[in-house]
Symmetry: C2
Subunit: 437 residues, 2 copies
Amino acid sequence: MGIVVQKYGGSSVADADSIKRVARRIVETKKAGNNVVVVVSAMGDTTDELIDLANEVSPLPPARELDMLLTAGERISMAVLAMAIQNLGHEARSFTGSQAGVITDAEHGRAKIIDVTPGRIQAAIDQGAIAIVAGFQGVSQTTKDITTLGRGGSDTTAVALAVALEADVCEIYSDVDGIFTADPRIEPRARKIPRISYEETLEMAAQGAKILHLRCVEYARRYGMAIHVRSSFSEKEGTWVVKASDVVPDASDETGGSTTEGQTMEAAIITGVAHDRSQAKITVVGVPDKPGEAAAIFRAIAEAQINIDMIVQNVSAAATSLTDVSFTLPRGEGQTAMTALSRLQDSIGFESLQYDDSVGKVSIVGAGMSTSPGISARFFEALSDAGVNIEMISTSEIRVSVVVAETQVQDAVRAAHEAFDLGSDEVEAVVYGGTGR
Amino acid sequence: MGIVVQKYGGSSVADADSIKRVARRIVETKKAGNNVVVVVSAMGDTTDELIDLANEVSPLPPARELDMLLTAGERISMAVLAMAIQNLGHEARSFTGSQAGVITDAEHGRAKIIDVTPGRIQAAIDQGAIAIVAGFQGVSQTTKDITTLGRGGSDTTAVALAVALEADVCEIYSDVDGIFTADPRIEPRARKIPRISYEETLEMAAQGAKILHLRCVEYARRYGMAIHVRSSFSEKEGTWVVKASDVVPDASDETGGSTTEGQTMEAAIITGVAHDRSQAKITVVGVPDKPGEAAAIFRAIAEAQINIDMIVQNVSAAATSLTDVSFTLPRGEGQTAMTALSRLQDSIGFESLQYDDSVGKVSIVGAGMSTSPGISARFFEALSDAGVNIEMISTSEIRVSVVVAETQVQDAVRAAHEAFDLGSDEVEAVVYGGTGR
């Protein structure tokens, strides 16, 4: 009997009714002849509430204790889910990350998985039980203290367990039907992607698509574990994230509408359009154009622990030998970066700083891009035709990203989606969480 | 450096402010030159809220999962308390029951402690840290599943840890100043008892005094661990629960008022007056007075899992050869007992059943009683003088209990307190939780 690992996020287990619904779904999977291991996040807003409580007693809660506190969240959801399943007449047992054998390093709040030794999980499913595992948490190999995995931790727990248990598939449930060619809230003609490679998913995630966390996709890619991204509110097939060689254009794909062969080939070049409205842009104006200046700027940014994304340096104006350097970064870190740079104004000798947090990033992603010339040109032409001004450009093997005004993000996404013929002829129904969210 | 184990109940850690107050108290104990190990209950109503959540998904939540769920409560309180202590500049580390080495049997919901192996706690205090331990929970020796200890579990955790760590004392904090000669809400002249034996404390607890759980006192008695019962809302000395041989009448006791030697000797005979309003009385009327009838009645009660307390059987009336059997039991179990007995009416052949839940039990407890004749007589005379009618009587080596009408409980307590000269001349201030409760 094969093993299916399922992961349900906080919005899928937000309250008792949601938990009962998820329990029924799990029991159906079990009845269909699978061994089932479930990874679950904390219920709804539990984690935020626990953080608020911590902040009431300590402005900077110690990381070890914060991990101890936050792991209570999954402890609650997993136990209640196990109860709901047992109430349907099926044996279910909950396990903490530690009990499930999720061994991590000792970096509280952002621990990395070192090993997974799921002996108790294997024993539970061998005895016919459904195993429920707390996501997001583990136990330190060295200190034996409880750790949390940080952002994307529950998805990563699920993939890591699936790998360790040699599961057939790791199903990641959320309130969205799968990975789409663009955000359906922006482009109603966006189409669900039936199959996508790890690499394209990584680029989509890095460029702002909010379906899967980079970290869990990286883990799955390393071990070749298939991920099935789907909605806990619908029975539909979602999106399979698999090896690039397994992403074959398939006539039976539920892409909807009638496509000629030419269109199918073309659609395969670009997989989707991602956008990201969480970034800001800083421009350092009037930097002396000599060796070491850019290094000094980005050393200051790195020392402030700020992650930057795109960087553009203009050609210097010959008359002045001064250049402008622009980069993007998360908006929440904008103030810190501006402060760090201001301190260096005299030593670097730049003229001024400009901060713009009304920008957005739009990216086209596709494995076929690297062998198809003219992709960038078609993208830029489409933006131009839509009246969208490009502020910055950055590219990778399978991606082209542009920074535009935030007000033009929607037009840019639609233009790109249209230019690469990604849409279906009909608007697909997208099931969101609705009131349950 | 000696070790002090402190236990704080749910009302002492009901919210962030309470936790900060308790943190300051713990730090003071540490600064006074002690190694400190703290056992903590779940915050305020957390446990009840978790039980409500469980009942939303399952009418009868499986015990293993209920334990997993409920242990989240102490996980939250202990982590937040550790944060609050660290915020005061002292190292503190929280540990689950499992991490603290509280090894139990596998009886979920009412597990018994088999062993305590507090290696990690010892290591933490050896390194100068304050150790915070989750009360009420442990880990099964056989199944490795998380267990809870049931009623009185946190007090018992504290005593068991104190024993295993060879602590100097186990301090049990609540919102009451200590153990009193009677409930101060009923008898304002009640006096705090400075020292009391384990045996007297057990009788007081069994007879309704709500300070310490039987189980924790039994554990302390077995290993001779001194318990100091005191208030987390005051700095006063509380009540020391110790070996009978260590309960010496001490002229320096803070009993208040001027006492002659005679009064002191007298007061030593009776330690206190306990009362209990949680009981009901069932009378089986007209039972044939032949062998096996009483056995049949109490077998039926036992099979219904009901704990009975006092039993009285009247002498049969010669004319009818019928007798009446009365017993007391917790009110919550009254309906079950009446149903179980009604089913047997034909086979036993009794005439009728009477149920009375407006009764109360009043007990006098004192180690000196067994060697002092006339105690019962003085007790009954005092009740008679106060116009209190006695419905049932039961005695032990160090206790005399009577069942009276609930409306007469207060009069009975005051009469007994007066008869044995237990009061102080002044009303002692009793600090209750106040608004924090």
